[in-house]
């Protein structure tokens, strides 16, 4: 944990700024100032001020693109667009380093070929979390989304397949970057355990890595 992480957390202390941040990260792709301002009901100049503070804190990144889709004279100025920064913010007081521990454990699991016992542990943990989730069981699609949201997965219906839930945040991002088969396999089993634990009947978790999403999708369709 460094000064920059503390600054990032500090930038979210302002409730309005936090609402803007939550709006931007909840969207697929990029968000313009006007969209963010409308979403929280403030003027664009105020939204721009807060959005740029979030950029300074490293929580959002920007790009410039002409929204008209046209080029050349008369096509207008490029708009400033915001999206979540890739950077990960960790704040532990006092400092703890679970990340290094996780990477070392992953290395050891891979070397010893202990993936199957990791999968079993992940399934058991998923079931425990599912059982502890304060939702009605058996759970419906809305209830499942609520549980997944609470666990940080940021679920959203797939645009092309509304029966499929995409998970827009990978809770194990840096581990998944360095040990994809291990971390993603663990995550898949964790989610399978969770579905069993909340009795999400008819829902199936499977591996379907696409773009920047988490590698697991959850489908209503049992044929998957």
């Amino acid at each position: 944990m460094g000064e920059a992480d503390i600054d990032a957390v500090g930038a979210l202390a302002d409730p309005l700024r936090r609402r803007l941040y939550e709006y931007v990260v909840s969207r697929e792709g990029e968000t313009s100032r006007a969209e963010a301002a409308d979403a929280v009901g403030i003027r664009r100049t105020l939204a721009a001020f807060h959005l740029d503070k979030l950029v300074d804190a490293g929580l959002l990144t920007t790009s410039r693109r002409k929204l008209s889709g046209r080029e050349g004279p008369g096509s207008g100025r490029p708009a400033k667009l915001y999206r979540r920064a890739d950077r990960q913010v960790n704040v532990h007081l006092p400092p703890r380093d679970y990340e290094t521990a996780a990477h070392l454990l992953a290395e050891a699991v891979q070397h010893s070929g202990a993936e199957e016992s990791l999968h079993a542990a992940a399934r058991a943990e998923g079931r425990r979390r599912g059982g502890a989730a304060a939702v009605e069981r058996p759970v419906d699609a809305d209830g499942l989304c609520e549980v997944l949201t609470r666990l940080g997965y940021e679920p959203a219906a797939d645009e092309e397949e509304p029966e499929t839930l995409r998970l827009r945040n990978c809770p194990f991002h840096t581990l998944a970057r360095d040990f994809p088969p291990l971390a993603c396999g663990m995550n898949l089993e964790l989610l399978r355990g969770l579905l069993a634990g909340v009795q999400a009947e008819g829902f199936t978790a499977r591996m379907a890595p696409r773009g920047r999403h988490c590698c697991v999708t959850i489908s209503k369709n049992e044929n998957y």
Partner: protein, 158 residues
């Protein structure tokens, strides 16, 4: 556009011989996964045994060691195929392969257009096993950029 392509080799030992029911699913998945690789952005070349669509008949690295040997336009395109496609599901499943204590994957740069040989691949694997990741033999976690083209006539120095 870089004048270099990325070569990759990985080796693996099956838990049961080819033809056994324990590994039948692995062999059944090879054709579709290879087709996915061939159609992936950045794919350049992959090793095939003569008269075959895959490399499973090749035992250059030992009687038990299967190989996967290919060339891609960049580390990123190989990464995308390896870990951000349906190929990931194959890698996640550990029921077919014996865990290897030694390094089983190596990446290195080759001039674009050069098709690397099995002997070259063995040298690179030996190198990363002996010295860890270097510019000559590296892995996804410790990457090295493609060599710079110092002597290109169409690229005048200031």
């Amino acid at each position: 556009m870089s004048g270099y392509h990325l070569a990759q080799l990985n080796v693996g030992t099956l838990k049961a011989p080819q033809g056994s029911p324990e590994v039948a699913e692995f062999f059944a998945l090879l054709d579709p996964i290879n087709a996915l690789a061939d159609a992936s952005p950045g794919f350049v070349w992959r090793y095939r045994c003569e008269g075959s669509n895959d490399a499973t008949g090749e035992r250059f690295f030992g009687d038990d060691l299967l190989i996967n040997f290919s060339v891609w336009e960049s580390v990123e395109t190989l990464w995308e195929f390896t870990y951000r496609s349906d190929h990931l599901d194959l890698l996640r499943r550990r029921e077919w392969m014996v865990p290897l204590a030694e390094r089983f994957l190596v990446l290195w740069w080759v001039p674009a257009g050069h098709i690397p040989t099995l002997t070259e691949a063995r040298e690179r694997l030996d190198l990363i096993r002996a010295e860890g990741p270097t510019e000559q033999a590296f892995d996804f976690r410790t990457r090295f950029p493609a060599p710079r083209e110092e002597t290109r006539p169409q690229d005048p120095r200031p």
